[in-house]
Symmetry: C2
Subunit: 332 residues, 2 copies
């Protein structure tokens, strides 16, 4: 048995946090001193009525703290919306965007600390200090990187903030392009490059490849760190049976010309040996037929049940991903 | 009968808003087309966790809109404190300062508009547009003017924000001095100087002379406008029977070396003919004996019941103040 592992997880919000809970559970059982560092997408962070929101950081935090709303699938359990109702009455903010009261407490704490001059990583560290979450969450960058969706509007195209497209229009407007202005100049947040360099394994969560994982690996310093680390990089497919598990990954993939399939996403990420992201790629049993196409990309394919129905299946999925990485690593 | 009057009221929060309601009621009965412009103290406005608070503007707004908490004496009726409980759990903000959820909606609307670039007067105008309040509220200035209290701390002195002294310490620390840094450079908010110039009467509400009325008249352009207007300036004493009606005016007056009496506050404000603020000063029946001392200052004293127990007594008080101003005006 080797020393306790250092696991780095690249993750978006909802899918990422479900996987993160499974990963933590698996490691608690098998390697209780393992260290989990989550590099969180901050590409959908935003300012709303002067308040800083970090949807993916908060989803990860709430899920790992066990204070998330599991029925609704996002936000805090036991939430209320008194302040949002007032904002609507004032005609302020985005009437279609509901800030829960408990959630707003997080946003205000964050905003206050930021306004006092704390860095984004330090703010996330403070947020993570409230509950024993058994993991470290790092923002991918401290720079403000937005996600802008350009949608088709009749014969025209128009840009809108990702949250407007996602929440207001439920991704019903056809996207033409996704941009993360500023990401090319963004540096990894303090600790991110070091965590990747020191990792024993890097896992890419089954998050939206375009708007969750995409912004993370678009940070140049993160891409370099992923290229240079000795750790194997294993991804978990967000596609099961040719369909996106959640969210609107299908339309996102279509917009950037990627195929919505297990091998299509593998191709999008690319083989590490070929300048891409992945050493290994875990596909669903339903997509076992895609394994040869993945292997042909220079990415070692693995097959496992990918549905995360509960903590047990999520932990089993994390185990399968780590096992695939180990096999890949041993083979290098 | 003259044309409908244009009444300007200089006011702080709680005392000012009770008087404002009475003034509005009196004018509704006697001069329904009268225009009320309230110049509100903004000296205790503040930033808290990145959010802009305007306690006196909000007190005036809520009271005139009838959505204020009349039992507690401040804030919104039907208030809850879910977000504040979260902020305490996060260790963010001031744990002793409770932001109600409904109230926070106001602060967030205001903050969002300010962050979008709207001026303070425009923001207050939007806030006032939600309900038919029958008055215009103008911030005294758009500049950020704080109120800093220097308190005695053993042999030392130390400065603290007014809200900390007021809310956290309930004014129990002995104040040595009150300062409004920036007020000497502050300009009246758009509309303030014009409203005073065009007024038929200016009323100084029975608000705290040191921390509510004091900052307003410390804005140089407001002082000039008050000196130059043709309108009589009538004040209502915040002292009844030698004691401050509410709040901590007594300790504030002591700190600046003013006597806590009807004539003491008149002396603090000074006669307009003598470079001061007042043409006339309404004192309580309990303080009728102070009238000669007030007259001796060159300020016409009037005597009336000053307790504002309900809308009726507040309206009667407003009537008495306007009547005293009329008499003073006729006599000029």
């Amino acid at each position: 048995m080797s020393a306790s592992r250092r696991v780095v997880l690249l993750a978006g919000g909802v899918g990422g946090s479900t996987f993160a809970r499974g990963l933590r559970e698996h490691l608690r059982r098998t390697d209780p001193h393992a260290r989990i560092t989550i590099v969180a997408n901050t590409g959908d962070d935003m300012w709303l009525t002067g308040v800083r929101l970090q949807p993916d950081v908060d989803s990860l935090l709430y899920a790992l703290a066990g204070v998330n709303d599991t029925e609704r699938g996002w936000g805090r359990a036991g939430e209320s919306e008194r302040v949002s109702a007032e904002l609507r009455a004032w005609g302020a903010g985005w009437p279609w965007f509901t800030l829960g009261d408990l959630d707003l407490g997080t946003h205000l704490a964050r905003t206050g600390w930021l306004r006092e001059g704390a860095g984004v990583a330090e703010v996330v560290r403070r947020l993570c200090g409230r509950w024993p979450i058994g993991a470290e969450i790092l923002p991918m960058t401290e720079a403000e990187v937005d996600t802008i969706v350009t949608v088709r509007d009749g014969a025209d195209e128009r840009p809108m903030h990702f949250q407007e497209w996602w929440t207001r229009y439920r991704a019903s407007l056809e996207p033409v392009r996704f941009d993360n202005p500023g990401v090319a100049e963004a540096e990894p947040a303090p600790g991110v490059a070091r965590a990747i360099a020191d990792a024993d394994v890097v896992v890419v969560a089954p998050s939206n490849p375009v708007v969750s994982v995409g912004p993370i690996v678009a940070v140049p310093g993160i891409r370099v760190a992923l290229r240079e680390t000795d750790a194997p990089v294993v991804g978990v497919s967000p596609i099961i049976g040719g369909r996106a598990v959640r969210g609107m990954a299908e339309v996102c993939l279509a917009a950037i010309g990627a195929e919505c399939s297990a091998s299509g996403v593998a191709q999008l990420y690319g083989a590490r040996d070929d300048g891409g992201l992945l050493d290994a790629w875990l596909v669903a049993e339903e997509d076992a037929g895609a394994a040869p196409a993945v292997d042909a990309l220079g990415i070692r394919a693995g097959v496992a049940p990918l549905w995360m129905r509960d903590l047990e299946t999520s932990a089993a999925l994390a185990a399968a991903a780590l096992e695939l990485a180990r096999r890949g690593s041993a083979g290098r």
